[in-house]
């Protein structure tokens, strides 16, 4: 018990260190950009104090959630603020507001949904809400960055698929925890090899279909990939059967090959990835933009070297969409390989703590929910970092907590709040 109480102490200590990191970044930004010093002071102290306030409130409320998640997210958000300020001050100011809003939302999530288990009672409502939210942009959506997944509300644009992610994980977690034994027992034996039976195929094919729909109608490759990956991870957590993963991968590859031959935008991205992207630059059509992006991203990462060009010393603005999808390239250019690796370590930490929460929680719903949300976060950060470094074909998704964008940031803070709730629950009944 003593150790649990000191957990919040660790959290506060780490948040102070994170605050110093933000202060150093703000000082470098001020020396680089100059101007009135007051916005820098406010820009750096407000988020640092807000995170600390959240930690103190958790301590006062005897909230027993994992103490390492919040500091990791703090450093990711601070990196976002500094890099966005360096890229475009307008984005930084808006992101500043979104971070504070996200933090508030995270805190509200931990207060309102402390008893998150009752969320499992309304699973078909989420299923329906999620489906509707995904279908709406197909008819009323606007296209941004090749993906038709945005809703335009004038003052701000909303990307429903960012929030639907959470609904999908909630739905799958309640569905699977209810049907886990059915899924695990359901087998058909063919020539001595036991295969999953028909009742397991239904949801698997359904999820595959939803991913394909996303791919076809919204041209949102990245989100489709993340949904399907998260789904497979959750199926594995529920049943511990590698066979599902194998079948899932075969289905995924089938879908991938199919869409490569059928859809121009998929083929383009794969071609840029497999062939030399420099060759596409002279073509002068749409392929040019994406190849140009990748090429500039690779130049930026290369220019960074080991310790980077220093904040403000590089040319990240040469990369189109550097403030959203390509922010990792900008970080690697200005903070070097060390900075890039540091950010990856923080994501790995987040995922490690998330799976630890899943292991520590005691009922199927909590386990599946924690594992699903963590897998979601893991797949998303992996997909985009792999995309901008040309390890995988580029798929436009945001880098969690770092990319500019309100929908993505708010959704990720809700995920953080949910994980902390599950962790609190698991630690309370020790």
């Amino acid at each position: 018990m003593v150790i649990r109480e000191s957990g919040r102490g660790n959290e506060i200590k780490l948040l102070v260190l994170a605050g110093l990191y933000l202060a150093a970044g703000a000082a470098a930004a001020y020396l680089w950009a100059g101007g009135d010093p007051r916005p820098y002071v406010i820009g750096a102290s407000a988020p640092a104090l807000a995170f600390l306030l959240a930690a103190f409130l958790f301590q006062a409320l005897r909230f027993k959630a994992d103490p390492f998640l919040l500091p990791v997210v703090a450093v990711l958000s601070y990196t976002s603020l500094i890099m966005l300020y360096r890229i475009n001050q307008f984005y930084a100011v808006r992101q500043f507001i979104w971070v504070l809003a996200g933090l508030t939302l995270m805190f509200l999530t931990t207060r309102l949904f402390t008893n998150y288990r009752r969320l499992s009672d309304y699973k078909y409502i989420y299923g329906l809400m999620g489906a509707v939210a995904l279908i709406i942009p197909i008819f009323f959506g606007t296209e941004e960055g090749g993906a038709k997944s945005w809703l335009n509300f004038g003052a701000f644009h909303l990307q429903p698929s960012e929030f639907v992610k959470i609904l999908v994980v909630l739905f799958l977690a309640s569905f699977m925890s209810e049907n886990r034994m059915v899924l695990a027992r359901d087998t058909v034996t063919v020539r001595g090899i036991s295969l999953p039976g028909p009742r397991s195929w239904g949801p698997l094919l359904g999820m595959w279909g939803i991913s394909l729909l996303l791919l076809v109608f919204q041209r949102d490759l990245g989100t489709a990939l993340i949904y399907f990956g998260t789904f497979l991870a959750m199926v594995y957590v529920a049943t511990a059967r590698m066979l599902y993963i194998g079948v899932g991968l075969v289905l995924f590859m089938g879908g991938g090959t199919f869409s490569y031959f059928l859809f121009g935008h998929v083929r383009q991205r794969v071609d840029i990835w497999l062939l030399n992207p420099y060759n596409f630059i002279d073509l002068g059509d749409r392929a040019y933009n994406q190849a140009y992006q990748i090429v500039q991203s690779l130049f930026a990462i290369g220019a960074g070297g080991l310790t980077g060009t220093g904040l403000g010393g590089g040319y990240p603005l040469f990369i189109p969409a550097v403030h959203t999808d390509f922010i990792f390239s900008a970080i690697t250019e200005e903070m070097g390989l060390l900075g890039g690796v540091g950010i990856i370590i923080l994501y790995v930490f987040f995922i490690f703590r998330g799976f630890k929460i899943a292991l520590e929680s005691r009922d199927d719903f909590s386990k599946l929910l924690a594992a699903g949300l963590t897998a979601l976060m893991g797949f998303q950060s992996f997909t985009i970092i792999a995309g901008v470094t040309k390890l995988l074909p580029l798929t436009g998704v945001t880098l969690p907590f770092i990319s500019y964008g309100g929908s993505s940031l708010l959704a990720n803070f809700i995920i953080l709040g949910m994980l902390m709730n599950i962790s609190h629950e698991a630690n309370t009944h020790e």
């Binding site: 260190l17 020396l31 390492f68 036991s194 904040l311 930490f349 292991l359 520590e360």
Partner: protein, 184 residues
Amino acid sequence: MIDIFLTVFRYIFLLMLFVFIFQLIKMVFRDIKYGQPGGAPPRVNRAGGAAEISGRDIAPLPGAAAGLAVLGSSDPGLQAGNVYPLKGGDELTLGRGGRNIILLGDPYASVDHAAFYGKDGQYWLEDRGSKNGTYLNDIRIDKPTVLADGDRIRIGGVTMQFVRWSYEVESGNRSGPHKEAKRG
């Protein structure tokens, strides 16, 4: 002059990132080493597993001379007090895989974990190459072992007891060095 400060702060910025990461790793290591409630497999008995039962307390099931009674379980599908009878020359297989007779929905159970069967008038427990082991009276078994009434079997978070209703064989007549070590 400003350039020097700028360079210094750029490096401090990067340095602070790693100071944070190292501090994080240090704290997490300490947390793993000392502060670990939960995570250990046998959490079931703490959570209110059934009290000690003996074979005599359980009503004999028709056509069966022996069986396995669940004492405590981490799997809600496997209720404490359930009795699985062993009939004739059958084999009761235990594991997480769907083809097993006793399905263990426990994270520490392997797909095909263990088997319980009668042979030569005795009852045997055999580990089928499980990852986390089969424990007989808290000793891990590595070869087929003969069971006596009241023996406790633990697989992950599931504890069971071997119960025997008829005694063709003396329960003292047993093999396996592990047992003797335990009984002293």
